[in-house]
């Protein structure tokens, strides 16, 4: 579907805009819960806390954060859904 800076092509894309903290993580949870394991998910998140929160969230729930892109603020992420 999308493609982050020439990296792997994603299966789905979600734009979370300025969502932050618990709102962002609940939205990520809802978006990714129905997807099959292994799905490549591209995420756009603009909140200044997202570059710290999204990698931490991926570690906690067992998803693989493959790519961070979009400049110093890492506005785009490519995540492979874990089991």
């Amino acid at each position: 579907m999308g493609e982050i800076a020439g990296h792997l092509e994603s299966d789905v894309f979600y734009d979370f805009g300025e969502m932050s903290c618990g709102d962002l993580l609940i939205a990520l949870l809802k978006a990714m819960r129905p997807l099959p394991v292994g799905t490549l998910v591209e995420v756009r998140a603009l909140d200044p806390g997202a570059p710290i929160d999204i990698p931490a969230w991926c570690r906690m729930v067992g998803h693989a954060l493959l790519v961070r892109a979009g400049g110093p603020q890492n506005t785009h992420y490519l995540i492979r859904k874990g089991g």
Binding site: C21, G22, D23, L25, I26, A56, W57, M60
Partner: protein, 119 residues
């Protein structure tokens, strides 16, 4: 599994604290952590159906949506029994996911590996 209890002691007397407590609870439950929102003192008012309908802090989702999302994601809401009774609230009007508990329930949760944040 890690366990986290979010203690919320405010309602319309301090909607900022009440809201941020719910936001952090959502961050916790969405991260796969066993999470409890523990409502005590003024916070117990949030357990009543309809009470939080008009609480919407600027920059945050409405508090009712935050609590609904929290429960839908697997979180539990515990309501301090003596605080609830003191205020004459209605146990038949609890929001979904809320349970009235005594202090022993919170103590058990915290003394068996749970951590706590308070708002």
């Amino acid at each position: 599994m890690a366990k986290l209890l979010i203690s919320i002691t405010n309602a319309k007397n301090d909607t900022d604290r009440a809201t941020v407590g719910c936001v952090v609870a959502n961050a916790s439950v969405a991260s796969g952590v066993e999470t409890v929102v523990f409502l005590s003192t003024e916070g117990v008012r949030l357990s009543q159906e309809g009470y939080a309908d008009d609480i919407h802090e600027e920059g945050f989702a409405p508090l009712k949506k935050l609590l609904t999302d929290f429960v839908d994601a697997g979180g539990n809401i515990w309501v301090c029994s003596p605080c609830f009774k003191k205020r004459g609230l209605d146990e038949h009007k609890l929001v979904p996911g809320a349970t009235i508990v005594g202090g022993a329930k919170a103590v058990e949760f915290l003394s068996t590996g749970g951590s706590c944040m308070t708002y």
